[in-house]
Protein backbone atom coordinates (compact mmCIF):
# COMPACT_ATOMS: atom_id res chain seq x y z
CA UNK A 1 0.00 0.00 0.00
CA UNK A 2 1.08 3.56 -0.60
CA UNK A 3 3.03 5.15 2.18
CA UNK A 4 0.70 8.11 2.22
CA UNK A 5 -2.22 7.23 4.42
CA UNK A 6 -4.55 10.13 4.51
CA UNK A 7 -7.14 9.89 7.24
CA UNK A 8 -10.28 11.93 6.75
CA UNK A 9 -10.24 13.17 10.32
CA UNK A 10 -7.96 15.38 12.30
CA UNK A 11 -7.84 12.96 15.19
CA UNK A 12 -5.07 10.78 13.84
CA UNK A 13 -2.43 11.27 16.55
CA UNK A 14 -4.94 10.40 19.26
CA UNK A 15 -5.90 7.24 17.46
CA UNK A 16 -2.33 6.07 17.27
CA UNK A 17 -1.69 6.67 20.94
CA UNK A 18 -4.90 5.06 22.10
CA UNK A 19 -4.62 1.86 20.15
CA UNK A 20 -3.17 -0.83 22.33
CA UNK A 21 -1.31 -3.31 20.20
CA UNK A 22 -1.44 -7.00 20.89
CA UNK A 23 0.75 -7.94 23.74
CA UNK A 24 0.32 -7.70 27.43
CA UNK A 25 -1.97 -10.10 29.18
CA UNK A 26 -5.48 -9.30 30.27
CA UNK A 27 -7.48 -11.05 32.94
CA UNK A 28 -8.64 -14.67 32.51
CA UNK A 29 -12.27 -13.55 32.50
CA UNK A 30 -11.59 -11.42 29.47
CA UNK A 31 -10.18 -14.39 27.62
CA UNK A 32 -13.02 -16.63 28.68
CA UNK A 33 -15.69 -14.23 27.45
CA UNK A 34 -13.77 -13.62 24.24
CA UNK A 35 -13.46 -17.36 23.68
CA UNK A 36 -17.18 -17.95 24.18
CA UNK A 37 -18.03 -15.13 21.79
CA UNK A 38 -15.68 -16.44 19.12
CA UNK A 39 -17.09 -19.95 19.53
CA UNK A 40 -20.67 -18.72 19.13
CA UNK A 41 -19.64 -16.65 16.13
CA UNK A 42 -17.89 -19.44 14.32
CA UNK A 43 -20.16 -22.37 15.24
CA UNK A 44 -22.65 -21.88 12.40
CA UNK A 45 -19.85 -21.43 9.86
CA UNK A 46 -18.10 -24.51 11.22
CA UNK A 47 -21.38 -26.44 11.03
CA UNK A 48 -21.67 -25.65 7.33
CA UNK A 49 -18.04 -26.39 6.48
CA UNK A 50 -17.82 -29.59 8.55
CA UNK A 51 -21.24 -30.77 7.39
CA UNK A 52 -19.89 -30.85 3.87
CA UNK A 53 -17.35 -33.47 4.98
CA UNK A 54 -20.04 -35.79 6.31
CA UNK A 55 -22.48 -38.18 4.68
CA UNK A 56 -26.22 -37.82 4.77
CA UNK A 57 -26.62 -40.83 7.04
CA UNK A 58 -24.12 -39.29 9.47
CA UNK A 59 -26.11 -36.08 9.46
CA UNK A 60 -29.46 -37.81 9.94
CA UNK A 61 -28.43 -40.07 12.79
CA UNK A 62 -26.30 -37.49 14.55
CA UNK A 63 -27.09 -33.94 13.43
CA UNK A 64 -24.56 -32.29 15.74
CA UNK A 65 -21.29 -34.18 15.47
CA UNK A 66 -17.95 -34.07 13.77
CA UNK A 67 -17.40 -35.88 10.49
CA UNK A 68 -16.57 -39.52 11.16
CA UNK A 69 -15.07 -40.61 8.86
CA UNK A 70 -14.25 -37.48 6.85
CA UNK A 71 -15.63 -37.62 3.31
CA UNK A 72 -14.34 -35.48 0.47
CA UNK A 73 -16.96 -36.70 -2.01
CA UNK A 74 -19.44 -33.87 -1.53
CA UNK A 75 -16.86 -31.17 -2.10
CA UNK A 76 -15.34 -32.97 -5.07
CA UNK A 77 -18.74 -33.47 -6.66
CA UNK A 78 -19.59 -29.79 -6.30
CA UNK A 79 -16.20 -28.74 -7.63
CA UNK A 80 -16.75 -30.98 -10.64
CA UNK A 81 -20.20 -29.64 -11.43
CA UNK A 82 -20.37 -27.11 -14.23
CA UNK A 83 -23.34 -25.39 -12.58
CA UNK A 84 -21.21 -24.34 -9.62
CA UNK A 85 -18.48 -22.87 -11.79
CA UNK A 86 -20.93 -21.17 -14.11
CA UNK A 87 -22.59 -19.47 -11.16
CA UNK A 88 -19.23 -18.74 -9.58
CA UNK A 89 -18.13 -16.86 -12.69
CA UNK A 90 -21.44 -15.05 -12.92
CA UNK A 91 -20.99 -13.84 -9.35
CA UNK A 92 -17.38 -12.88 -10.03
CA UNK A 93 -18.25 -10.91 -13.16
CA UNK A 94 -21.12 -9.12 -11.45
CA UNK A 95 -18.99 -8.30 -8.40
CA UNK A 96 -15.97 -7.07 -10.38
CA UNK A 97 -18.03 -4.99 -12.79
CA UNK A 98 -20.00 -3.49 -9.91
CA UNK A 99 -16.80 -2.66 -8.05
CA UNK A 100 -15.18 -0.99 -11.04
CA UNK A 101 -18.34 0.94 -11.85
CA UNK A 102 -18.84 2.13 -8.29
CA UNK A 103 -15.23 3.21 -7.90
CA UNK A 104 -14.98 5.05 -11.22
CA UNK A 105 -18.32 6.83 -11.05
CA UNK A 106 -18.05 7.36 -7.31
CA UNK A 107 -14.60 8.94 -7.34
CA UNK A 108 -15.51 11.27 -10.19
CA UNK A 109 -18.72 12.47 -8.57
CA UNK A 110 -17.15 12.76 -5.11
CA UNK A 111 -14.28 14.77 -6.54
CA UNK A 112 -16.72 17.29 -7.96
CA UNK A 113 -18.58 17.46 -4.65
CA UNK A 114 -15.43 17.80 -2.60
CA UNK A 115 -13.38 20.27 -4.57
CA UNK A 116 -15.49 22.32 -6.95
CA UNK A 117 -17.56 25.24 -5.82
CA UNK A 118 -20.66 25.76 -7.87
CA UNK A 119 -24.33 26.52 -7.64
CA UNK A 120 -26.23 23.33 -6.96
CA UNK A 121 -23.41 21.55 -5.18
CA UNK A 122 -25.57 21.26 -2.07
CA UNK A 123 -28.46 19.97 -4.15
CA UNK A 124 -26.22 17.39 -5.78
CA UNK A 125 -24.95 16.17 -2.43
CA UNK A 126 -28.54 16.01 -1.19
CA UNK A 127 -29.53 14.04 -4.30
CA UNK A 128 -26.97 11.34 -3.59
CA UNK A 129 -27.55 11.41 0.15
CA UNK A 130 -31.28 10.94 -0.46
CA UNK A 131 -30.35 7.57 -1.93
CA UNK A 132 -29.74 6.38 1.60
CA UNK A 133 -33.47 6.72 2.10
CA UNK A 134 -34.24 4.46 -0.85
CA UNK A 135 -32.86 1.02 -0.20
CA UNK A 136 -33.21 -1.37 -3.09
CA UNK A 137 -36.18 -3.04 -1.42
CA UNK A 138 -38.36 0.03 -1.91
CA UNK A 139 -37.56 0.42 -5.59
CA UNK A 140 -37.34 -3.22 -6.56
CA UNK A 141 -40.79 -3.67 -8.11
CA UNK A 142 -40.60 -0.76 -10.57
CA UNK A 143 -36.86 -1.33 -10.97
CA UNK A 144 -37.71 -4.78 -12.28
CA UNK A 145 -40.00 -3.14 -14.83
CA UNK A 146 -37.35 -0.57 -15.84
CA UNK A 147 -34.87 -3.40 -16.40
CA UNK A 148 -37.51 -5.27 -18.36
CA UNK A 149 -38.13 -2.23 -20.58
CA UNK A 150 -34.39 -1.93 -21.19
CA UNK A 151 -34.36 -5.57 -22.28
CA UNK A 152 -31.86 -6.49 -19.58
CA UNK A 153 -33.93 -9.16 -17.83
CA UNK A 154 -32.00 -12.35 -17.25
CA UNK A 155 -28.81 -10.47 -18.04
CA UNK A 156 -25.99 -9.76 -15.60
CA UNK A 157 -25.94 -6.15 -16.78
CA UNK A 158 -29.42 -5.80 -15.34
CA UNK A 159 -27.95 -6.65 -11.95
CA UNK A 160 -24.72 -4.68 -12.29
CA UNK A 161 -26.14 -1.29 -13.27
CA UNK A 162 -28.66 -1.00 -10.41
CA UNK A 163 -26.03 -2.24 -7.96
CA UNK A 164 -23.70 0.55 -9.03
CA UNK A 165 -26.51 3.07 -8.68
CA UNK A 166 -27.52 1.88 -5.24
CA UNK A 167 -23.93 1.81 -3.99
CA UNK A 168 -23.29 5.42 -5.03
CA UNK A 169 -24.77 7.14 -1.95
CA UNK A 170 -22.52 5.35 0.55
CA UNK A 171 -19.59 5.72 -1.82
CA UNK A 172 -20.04 9.46 -2.10
CA UNK A 173 -20.49 9.85 1.63
CA UNK A 174 -17.32 7.89 2.36
CA UNK A 175 -15.18 9.47 -0.37
CA UNK A 176 -16.08 13.15 -0.10
CA UNK A 177 -14.35 13.67 3.28
CA UNK A 178 -11.31 11.78 1.96
CA UNK A 179 -11.03 13.98 -1.09
CA UNK A 180 -11.72 17.10 0.91
CA UNK A 181 -8.89 16.23 3.29
CA UNK A 182 -6.29 16.52 0.54
CA UNK A 183 -4.49 19.75 1.46
CA UNK A 184 -5.19 22.72 -0.72
CA UNK A 185 -1.45 23.47 -0.81
CA UNK A 186 -0.84 20.34 -2.86
CA UNK A 187 -3.39 21.47 -5.39
CA UNK A 188 -1.94 24.97 -5.49
CA UNK A 189 1.56 23.59 -5.95
CA UNK A 190 0.29 21.44 -8.78
CA UNK A 191 -1.41 24.44 -10.37
CA UNK A 192 1.78 26.48 -10.12
CA UNK A 193 3.60 23.65 -11.82
CA UNK A 194 1.09 23.88 -14.66
CA UNK A 195 -1.16 20.99 -13.74
CA UNK A 196 -4.82 21.38 -14.72
CA UNK A 197 -7.56 20.38 -12.32
CA UNK A 198 -8.19 17.23 -14.28
CA UNK A 199 -4.48 16.48 -14.31
CA UNK A 200 -4.43 17.02 -10.58
CA UNK A 201 -7.33 14.58 -10.34
CA UNK A 202 -5.43 11.86 -12.15
CA UNK A 203 -1.99 12.38 -10.66
CA UNK A 204 -2.68 13.38 -7.10
CA UNK A 205 -6.27 12.66 -6.09
CA UNK A 206 -6.47 9.01 -7.08
CA UNK A 207 -3.23 7.95 -5.34
CA UNK A 208 -3.91 10.06 -2.24
CA UNK A 209 -7.45 8.80 -1.78
CA UNK A 210 -6.47 5.17 -2.32
CA UNK A 211 -7.47 4.08 1.21
CA UNK A 212 -10.96 5.45 0.77
CA UNK A 213 -11.20 4.01 -2.73
CA UNK A 214 -10.18 0.57 -1.47
CA UNK A 215 -12.78 0.68 1.27
CA UNK A 216 -15.50 1.62 -1.16
CA UNK A 217 -14.36 -1.02 -3.63
CA UNK A 218 -14.32 -3.77 -1.03
CA UNK A 219 -17.76 -2.86 0.27
CA UNK A 220 -19.08 -2.89 -3.29
CA UNK A 221 -17.48 -6.25 -4.04
CA UNK A 222 -18.73 -8.00 -0.92
CA UNK A 223 -22.13 -6.35 -1.27
CA UNK A 224 -22.48 -7.57 -4.82
CA UNK A 225 -21.18 -11.04 -4.04
CA UNK A 226 -23.79 -11.42 -1.31
CA UNK A 227 -26.71 -9.63 -2.95
CA UNK A 228 -29.90 -11.62 -3.18
CA UNK A 229 -33.02 -9.57 -3.78
CA UNK A 230 -31.96 -7.98 -7.06
CA UNK A 231 -30.69 -11.17 -8.75
CA UNK A 232 -33.83 -12.91 -7.47
CA UNK A 233 -35.97 -10.46 -9.44
CA UNK A 234 -33.80 -10.06 -12.52
CA UNK A 235 -32.30 -13.48 -13.26
CA UNK A 236 -34.60 -16.35 -14.19
CA UNK A 237 -32.40 -18.84 -15.94
CA UNK A 238 -30.19 -21.20 -13.91
CA UNK A 239 -27.23 -20.54 -16.18
CA UNK A 240 -27.41 -16.81 -15.44
CA UNK A 241 -27.77 -17.30 -11.69
CA UNK A 242 -25.26 -15.82 -9.30
CA UNK A 243 -24.02 -18.03 -6.48
CA UNK A 244 -26.49 -16.69 -3.93
CA UNK A 245 -29.39 -17.77 -6.12
CA UNK A 246 -27.47 -20.92 -6.92
CA UNK A 247 -27.20 -21.88 -3.27
CA UNK A 248 -30.91 -21.49 -2.84
CA UNK A 249 -31.81 -23.32 -6.03
CA UNK A 250 -29.38 -26.08 -5.13
CA UNK A 251 -30.74 -26.46 -1.62
CA UNK A 252 -34.32 -26.78 -2.83
CA UNK A 253 -33.34 -29.06 -5.71
CA UNK A 254 -31.30 -31.41 -3.53
CA UNK A 255 -33.23 -30.83 -0.31
CA UNK A 256 -32.72 -34.49 0.66
CA UNK A 257 -28.97 -34.37 0.04
CA UNK A 258 -28.10 -32.18 3.02
CA UNK A 259 -24.38 -32.93 2.96
CA UNK A 260 -24.03 -31.82 -0.64
CA UNK A 261 -26.03 -28.66 0.05
CA UNK A 262 -23.65 -27.85 2.87
CA UNK A 263 -20.63 -28.47 0.66
CA UNK A 264 -22.05 -26.21 -2.05
CA UNK A 265 -22.86 -23.54 0.53
CA UNK A 266 -19.45 -23.54 2.15
CA UNK A 267 -17.64 -23.41 -1.19
CA UNK A 268 -19.72 -20.43 -2.20
CA UNK A 269 -18.75 -18.41 0.84
CA UNK A 270 -15.00 -18.87 0.37
CA UNK A 271 -14.40 -16.00 -2.08
CA UNK A 272 -16.06 -13.38 0.13
CA UNK A 273 -14.15 -14.69 3.16
CA UNK A 274 -10.83 -14.65 1.34
CA UNK A 275 -11.46 -11.21 -0.01
CA UNK A 276 -12.43 -10.04 3.44
CA UNK A 277 -9.42 -11.50 5.23
CA UNK A 278 -7.11 -9.89 2.66
CA UNK A 279 -8.57 -6.46 3.22
CA UNK A 280 -9.86 -6.76 6.76
CA UNK A 281 -7.97 -3.75 8.07
CA UNK A 282 -9.27 -1.58 5.26
CA UNK A 283 -12.87 -2.62 5.82
CA UNK A 284 -12.68 -2.07 9.54
CA UNK A 285 -11.01 1.32 9.41
CA UNK A 286 -13.16 2.32 6.46
CA UNK A 287 -16.35 1.58 8.34
CA UNK A 288 -15.04 3.56 11.27
CA UNK A 289 -14.28 6.43 8.94
CA UNK A 290 -17.65 6.17 7.27
CA UNK A 291 -19.44 6.66 10.53
CA UNK A 292 -17.26 9.52 11.63
CA UNK A 293 -17.55 11.41 8.38
Amino acid sequence: MAATTLEPTAAVPLKRRKSVEDGGWGSPTTYFVALVVVALTLAPVAYIVLGGFRTNSQITTNPAAFPNPWKLDNYLEVLKSSTFWQQFFNSAIAALATTVGVVVLGVMASYVLARYHFRGRGAMFALFASGLMFPITVAITPLYLVIKDLGLLDNLLGVILPQIAFALPTTVIILVPFLRAIPREIEEAATVDGCSRLGFFGRMVIPLSLPGVLTVGILAFVGSWNSYLLPLFILNNQEHFTLTLGVQAFSSQYSTDTAKVLAFTSLSMIPALVFFSLFERRIVSGLGGAVKG
Partner: protein, 342 residues
Amino acid sequence: MSDSQTENSLAQESSLENPSPAGGGAIVATPPAGGRPRRRGVSWRERLEITVLSGPAIIVFIGFVILPVILAAYYGFFRWKGYGRPTDFVGLHNYVVILQDPEFRAALEHNLYILVLSLIIQGPIAILLALLLNRKMRGRSIIRVLIFVPWVVSEVIAGTGFSLMLSTQGAINDLLRNVGLGHFTADWLSDPNIALWALMGILTWKYIGFAVILFMAGMQNIPEELSEAAAIDGAGYWQIQRRITLPLLGPTIRIWAFLSIIGALQLFDLVYIIWGQYVAGTAGVSTMVTYMVQYGRNAGNYGYGSAVAVVVFFISLIVALGYQRFVLRRDTEGALTDGGKK
Protein backbone atom coordinates in the same frame (compact mmCIF):
# COMPACT_ATOMS: atom_id res chain seq x y z
CA MET B 1 -34.52 18.40 -0.62
CA SER B 2 -33.48 21.92 0.25
CA ASP B 3 -30.03 23.36 0.62
CA SER B 4 -30.52 24.15 4.28
CA GLN B 5 -30.92 20.47 5.00
CA THR B 6 -27.67 19.74 3.28
CA GLU B 7 -25.90 22.34 5.29
CA ASN B 8 -27.40 20.75 8.33
CA SER B 9 -26.11 17.32 7.39
CA LEU B 10 -22.72 18.75 6.57
CA ALA B 11 -22.55 20.48 9.91
CA GLN B 12 -23.48 17.25 11.55
CA GLU B 13 -20.85 15.49 9.58
CA SER B 14 -18.11 17.75 10.78
CA SER B 15 -19.28 17.52 14.36
CA LEU B 16 -19.17 13.75 14.10
CA GLU B 17 -15.65 13.92 12.85
CA ASN B 18 -14.55 15.43 16.10
CA PRO B 19 -16.15 13.70 19.01
CA SER B 20 -13.20 14.68 21.17
CA PRO B 21 -14.07 17.29 23.76
CA ALA B 22 -12.61 20.75 23.62
CA GLY B 23 -10.10 20.17 26.36
CA GLY B 24 -9.23 16.66 25.31
CA GLY B 25 -6.44 17.28 22.89
CA ALA B 26 -4.51 19.99 21.20
CA ILE B 27 -6.10 19.18 17.90
CA VAL B 28 -8.20 21.87 16.34
CA ALA B 29 -10.80 20.87 13.80
CA THR B 30 -9.78 21.88 10.34
CA PRO B 31 -12.70 23.51 8.59
CA PRO B 32 -13.82 21.68 5.46
CA ALA B 33 -11.30 22.77 2.88
CA GLY B 34 -13.45 21.89 -0.10
CA GLY B 35 -14.53 24.25 -2.75
CA ARG B 36 -13.63 27.73 -1.60
CA PRO B 37 -13.90 29.93 -4.65
CA ARG B 38 -10.77 31.83 -5.48
CA ARG B 39 -12.71 34.00 -7.85
CA ARG B 40 -16.37 34.65 -8.40
CA GLY B 41 -18.25 32.67 -10.98
CA VAL B 42 -17.50 29.40 -12.67
CA SER B 43 -15.69 29.32 -15.98
CA TRP B 44 -17.05 27.28 -18.86
CA ARG B 45 -14.09 24.99 -18.50
CA GLU B 46 -14.96 24.19 -14.93
CA ARG B 47 -18.55 23.67 -15.95
CA LEU B 48 -17.43 21.15 -18.53
CA GLU B 49 -15.27 19.34 -15.97
CA ILE B 50 -18.13 19.22 -13.48
CA THR B 51 -20.47 17.84 -16.12
CA VAL B 52 -18.05 15.22 -17.41
CA LEU B 53 -17.05 14.06 -13.95
CA SER B 54 -20.43 13.95 -12.26
CA GLY B 55 -22.66 13.30 -15.27
CA PRO B 56 -22.33 9.52 -15.49
CA ALA B 57 -22.93 9.00 -11.79
CA ILE B 58 -25.97 11.26 -11.82
CA ILE B 59 -27.44 9.55 -14.88
CA VAL B 60 -27.00 6.05 -13.46
CA PHE B 61 -28.26 7.16 -10.06
CA ILE B 62 -31.36 8.88 -11.39
CA GLY B 63 -32.10 6.11 -13.88
CA PHE B 64 -31.89 3.21 -11.47
CA VAL B 65 -32.70 4.75 -8.09
CA ILE B 66 -34.78 7.90 -8.41
CA LEU B 67 -36.82 6.90 -11.48
CA PRO B 68 -37.97 3.56 -10.02
CA VAL B 69 -38.91 5.28 -6.78
CA ILE B 70 -41.01 7.84 -8.67
CA LEU B 71 -42.53 5.06 -10.80
CA ALA B 72 -43.43 3.17 -7.62
CA ALA B 73 -45.39 6.18 -6.44
CA TYR B 74 -47.13 6.36 -9.85
CA TYR B 75 -47.89 2.65 -10.29
CA GLY B 76 -49.26 2.53 -6.77
CA PHE B 77 -52.42 4.25 -7.98
CA PHE B 78 -53.23 1.53 -10.51
CA ARG B 79 -54.50 -2.00 -10.60
CA TRP B 80 -51.91 -3.36 -12.94
CA LYS B 81 -50.46 -6.72 -13.88
CA GLY B 82 -47.34 -5.34 -15.48
CA TYR B 83 -48.34 -5.68 -19.13
CA GLY B 84 -48.57 -2.61 -21.33
CA ARG B 85 -49.21 0.77 -19.76
CA PRO B 86 -51.15 0.96 -16.51
CA THR B 87 -54.70 2.13 -17.32
CA ASP B 88 -56.91 0.87 -14.53
CA PHE B 89 -56.64 3.88 -12.22
CA VAL B 90 -57.96 3.01 -8.77
CA GLY B 91 -56.89 6.06 -6.80
CA LEU B 92 -56.06 5.27 -3.22
CA HIS B 93 -57.75 1.88 -3.32
CA ASN B 94 -54.47 -0.07 -3.06
CA TYR B 95 -53.45 1.92 -0.02
CA VAL B 96 -56.80 1.37 1.65
CA VAL B 97 -56.49 -2.37 1.07
CA ILE B 98 -52.93 -2.47 2.40
CA LEU B 99 -53.67 -0.55 5.57
CA GLN B 100 -56.76 -2.65 6.27
CA ASP B 101 -55.13 -6.00 5.55
CA PRO B 102 -54.53 -7.82 8.84
CA GLU B 103 -51.60 -9.62 7.20
CA PHE B 104 -49.86 -6.34 6.48
CA ARG B 105 -50.55 -5.07 9.97
CA ALA B 106 -49.10 -8.27 11.40
CA ALA B 107 -46.02 -7.81 9.21
CA LEU B 108 -45.64 -4.21 10.36
CA GLU B 109 -45.97 -5.36 13.94
CA HIS B 110 -43.20 -7.92 13.41
CA ASN B 111 -41.00 -5.21 11.91
CA LEU B 112 -41.52 -3.04 14.97
CA TYR B 113 -40.75 -5.92 17.35
CA ILE B 114 -37.59 -6.66 15.41
CA LEU B 115 -36.64 -2.97 15.43
CA VAL B 116 -36.97 -2.61 19.21
CA LEU B 117 -35.47 -5.99 20.04
CA SER B 118 -32.49 -5.38 17.74
CA LEU B 119 -31.69 -2.17 19.58
CA ILE B 120 -32.03 -3.54 23.09
CA ILE B 121 -30.32 -6.85 22.39
CA GLN B 122 -27.54 -5.87 20.02
CA GLY B 123 -26.69 -2.46 21.46
CA PRO B 124 -25.63 -3.47 24.98
CA ILE B 125 -23.94 -6.69 23.84
CA ALA B 126 -21.99 -4.83 21.17
CA ILE B 127 -20.87 -2.12 23.60
CA LEU B 128 -19.68 -4.72 26.11
CA LEU B 129 -17.85 -6.64 23.39
CA ALA B 130 -16.22 -3.47 22.11
CA LEU B 131 -15.09 -2.60 25.63
CA LEU B 132 -13.73 -6.11 26.02
CA LEU B 133 -11.85 -6.01 22.75
CA ASN B 134 -10.44 -2.60 23.60
CA ARG B 135 -8.60 -4.05 26.59
CA LYS B 136 -5.07 -5.23 26.52
CA MET B 137 -5.05 -8.85 25.55
CA ARG B 138 -3.27 -11.23 23.30
CA GLY B 139 -4.92 -12.20 20.03
CA ARG B 140 -7.10 -9.11 20.03
CA SER B 141 -6.76 -8.46 16.33
CA ILE B 142 -7.58 -12.04 15.35
CA ILE B 143 -10.68 -11.99 17.56
CA ARG B 144 -11.68 -8.75 15.93
CA VAL B 145 -11.47 -10.41 12.52
CA LEU B 146 -13.37 -13.52 13.58
CA ILE B 147 -16.22 -11.61 15.17
CA PHE B 148 -16.73 -9.84 11.87
CA VAL B 149 -16.99 -13.01 9.80
CA PRO B 150 -20.79 -13.37 9.98
CA TRP B 151 -21.21 -9.93 8.50
CA VAL B 152 -19.26 -11.03 5.42
CA VAL B 153 -21.12 -14.31 5.02
CA SER B 154 -24.11 -13.71 2.77
CA GLU B 155 -27.68 -13.84 4.03
CA VAL B 156 -28.36 -16.80 1.78
CA ILE B 157 -25.56 -18.83 3.33
CA ALA B 158 -26.47 -17.82 6.86
CA GLY B 159 -30.10 -18.61 6.11
CA THR B 160 -29.34 -22.02 4.60
CA GLY B 161 -27.09 -22.95 7.51
CA PHE B 162 -29.45 -21.80 10.22
CA SER B 163 -32.54 -23.37 8.70
CA LEU B 164 -30.74 -26.73 8.71
CA MET B 165 -29.40 -26.25 12.23
CA LEU B 166 -32.67 -25.04 13.70
CA SER B 167 -34.98 -27.55 12.02
CA THR B 168 -36.80 -29.93 14.35
CA GLN B 169 -34.40 -32.76 13.52
CA GLY B 170 -31.47 -30.37 13.29
CA ALA B 171 -28.19 -29.88 15.05
CA ILE B 172 -29.35 -27.51 17.78
CA ASN B 173 -32.01 -29.86 19.13
CA ASP B 174 -29.58 -32.76 18.86
CA LEU B 175 -26.96 -30.80 20.74
CA LEU B 176 -29.44 -29.93 23.48
CA ARG B 177 -30.41 -33.59 23.86
CA ASN B 178 -26.77 -34.65 23.96
CA VAL B 179 -25.91 -32.32 26.82
CA GLY B 180 -28.99 -33.32 28.82
CA LEU B 181 -31.12 -30.30 28.08
CA GLY B 182 -33.62 -32.37 26.11
CA HIS B 183 -36.70 -30.54 27.38
CA PHE B 184 -35.39 -27.31 25.87
CA THR B 185 -35.72 -28.68 22.36
CA ALA B 186 -38.25 -26.81 20.28
CA ASP B 187 -39.62 -26.21 16.81
CA TRP B 188 -37.40 -23.18 16.54
CA LEU B 189 -38.59 -22.07 13.16
CA SER B 190 -42.25 -23.10 13.02
CA ASP B 191 -43.52 -22.40 16.54
CA PRO B 192 -45.01 -18.88 16.34
CA ASN B 193 -44.01 -18.21 19.95
CA ILE B 194 -40.37 -18.99 19.29
CA ALA B 195 -39.73 -18.19 15.64
CA LEU B 196 -39.35 -14.45 16.24
CA TRP B 197 -36.76 -15.11 18.92
CA ALA B 198 -34.93 -17.53 16.65
CA LEU B 199 -34.88 -14.76 14.05
CA MET B 200 -33.55 -12.31 16.63
CA GLY B 201 -30.79 -14.77 17.51
CA ILE B 202 -29.82 -15.09 13.85
CA LEU B 203 -29.94 -11.33 13.31
CA THR B 204 -27.79 -10.74 16.38
CA TRP B 205 -25.28 -13.31 15.15
CA LYS B 206 -25.20 -11.78 11.69
CA TYR B 207 -25.00 -8.09 12.49
CA ILE B 208 -23.38 -7.75 15.91
CA GLY B 209 -19.87 -7.71 14.43
CA PHE B 210 -20.74 -4.59 12.45
CA ALA B 211 -21.89 -2.82 15.62
CA VAL B 212 -18.79 -3.93 17.52
CA ILE B 213 -16.48 -2.60 14.82
CA LEU B 214 -18.27 0.74 14.78
CA PHE B 215 -18.15 1.08 18.55
CA MET B 216 -14.48 0.12 18.67
CA ALA B 217 -13.69 2.75 16.08
CA GLY B 218 -15.62 5.26 18.16
CA MET B 219 -13.76 4.29 21.32
CA GLN B 220 -10.40 4.68 19.64
CA ASN B 221 -11.21 8.33 19.11
CA ILE B 222 -11.82 9.02 22.78
CA PRO B 223 -8.63 10.55 24.14
CA GLU B 224 -6.96 8.39 26.74
CA GLU B 225 -6.15 11.38 28.92
CA LEU B 226 -9.75 11.51 30.09
CA SER B 227 -9.76 7.99 31.46
CA GLU B 228 -6.32 8.52 32.92
CA ALA B 229 -7.44 11.68 34.68
CA ALA B 230 -10.53 9.91 35.98
CA ALA B 231 -8.46 6.99 37.20
CA ILE B 232 -6.17 9.37 39.07
CA ASP B 233 -9.24 10.88 40.67
CA GLY B 234 -10.12 7.42 41.92
CA ALA B 235 -12.74 6.28 39.43
CA GLY B 236 -13.08 2.53 38.91
CA TYR B 237 -13.11 0.78 35.53
CA TRP B 238 -16.89 0.58 35.18
CA GLN B 239 -17.32 4.10 36.48
CA ILE B 240 -14.95 5.37 33.80
CA GLN B 241 -16.81 3.47 31.10
CA ARG B 242 -20.18 4.77 32.31
CA ARG B 243 -19.17 8.37 32.86
CA ILE B 244 -16.65 8.87 30.07
CA THR B 245 -16.69 6.21 27.37
CA LEU B 246 -20.44 5.83 27.05
CA PRO B 247 -21.28 9.55 26.81
CA LEU B 248 -18.46 10.18 24.37
CA LEU B 249 -19.54 7.18 22.33
CA GLY B 250 -22.99 8.74 22.05
CA PRO B 251 -22.71 9.96 18.44
CA THR B 252 -21.46 6.56 17.26
CA ILE B 253 -24.22 4.75 19.13
CA ARG B 254 -26.83 7.04 17.65
CA ILE B 255 -25.57 6.49 14.11
CA TRP B 256 -25.50 2.74 14.65
CA ALA B 257 -29.03 2.81 16.04
CA PHE B 258 -30.16 4.71 12.96
CA LEU B 259 -28.65 2.13 10.60
CA SER B 260 -30.12 -0.68 12.69
CA ILE B 261 -33.60 0.87 12.65
CA ILE B 262 -33.61 1.29 8.89
CA GLY B 263 -32.29 -2.27 8.48
CA ALA B 264 -35.03 -3.64 10.73
CA LEU B 265 -37.77 -1.88 8.76
CA GLN B 266 -36.40 -3.15 5.44
CA LEU B 267 -35.63 -6.70 6.56
CA PHE B 268 -36.20 -9.24 3.81
CA ASP B 269 -33.42 -11.65 2.81
CA LEU B 270 -33.03 -13.79 5.91
CA VAL B 271 -36.76 -14.16 6.52
CA TYR B 272 -37.52 -14.98 2.90
CA ILE B 273 -34.69 -17.50 2.68
CA ILE B 274 -35.35 -19.31 5.95
CA TRP B 275 -39.13 -19.24 6.11
CA GLY B 276 -40.27 -18.55 2.55
CA GLN B 277 -43.24 -16.34 1.81
CA TYR B 278 -46.01 -18.62 3.11
CA VAL B 279 -44.44 -19.98 6.30
CA ALA B 280 -43.22 -16.53 7.34
CA GLY B 281 -46.82 -15.47 7.88
CA THR B 282 -47.83 -18.47 9.98
CA ALA B 283 -44.59 -18.51 11.98
CA GLY B 284 -45.07 -14.85 12.87
CA VAL B 285 -41.94 -13.46 11.26
CA SER B 286 -43.32 -11.95 8.05
CA THR B 287 -42.06 -8.43 7.37
CA MET B 288 -43.40 -5.60 5.27
CA VAL B 289 -41.00 -6.42 2.45
CA THR B 290 -41.76 -10.15 2.40
CA TYR B 291 -45.41 -9.09 2.22
CA MET B 292 -44.53 -6.77 -0.65
CA VAL B 293 -42.76 -9.50 -2.62
CA GLN B 294 -45.46 -12.08 -1.90
CA TYR B 295 -48.44 -9.94 -2.95
CA GLY B 296 -46.61 -7.79 -5.49
CA ARG B 297 -44.24 -9.49 -7.84
CA ASN B 298 -44.96 -13.11 -6.94
CA ALA B 299 -48.71 -12.56 -7.34
CA GLY B 300 -48.15 -10.51 -10.50
CA ASN B 301 -49.81 -7.43 -8.97
CA TYR B 302 -47.25 -4.77 -9.81
CA GLY B 303 -49.55 -1.87 -8.95
CA TYR B 304 -50.26 -3.31 -5.53
CA GLY B 305 -46.62 -4.21 -4.90
CA SER B 306 -45.57 -0.68 -5.78
CA ALA B 307 -48.13 0.70 -3.35
CA VAL B 308 -46.71 -1.51 -0.59
CA ALA B 309 -43.23 -0.21 -1.43
CA VAL B 310 -44.50 3.35 -1.06
CA VAL B 311 -46.02 2.52 2.32
CA VAL B 312 -42.76 0.90 3.47
CA PHE B 313 -40.89 3.96 2.27
CA PHE B 314 -43.12 6.41 4.11
CA ILE B 315 -42.99 4.42 7.31
CA SER B 316 -39.18 4.36 7.07
CA LEU B 317 -39.12 8.05 6.21
CA ILE B 318 -41.28 9.03 9.16
CA VAL B 319 -39.18 6.97 11.54
CA ALA B 320 -35.95 8.31 10.03
CA LEU B 321 -37.05 11.95 10.13
CA GLY B 322 -38.34 11.53 13.66
CA TYR B 323 -35.06 10.00 14.69
CA GLN B 324 -33.12 12.74 12.94
CA ARG B 325 -35.26 15.41 14.56
CA PHE B 326 -35.23 14.13 18.12
CA VAL B 327 -32.09 12.05 18.47
CA LEU B 328 -29.44 12.82 15.88
CA ARG B 329 -30.04 16.51 16.27
CA ARG B 330 -28.24 16.51 19.58
CA ASP B 331 -25.07 15.72 17.68
CA THR B 332 -25.28 18.99 15.83
CA GLU B 333 -25.83 20.90 19.03
CA GLY B 334 -22.89 19.42 20.86
CA ALA B 335 -22.49 15.79 21.61
CA LEU B 336 -20.96 16.20 25.01
CA THR B 337 -23.27 18.24 27.14
CA ASP B 338 -26.21 15.86 27.09
CA GLY B 339 -24.58 12.46 26.85
CA GLY B 340 -24.95 11.77 30.55
CA LYS B 341 -28.72 11.65 30.28
CA LYS B 342 -28.64 8.53 28.16
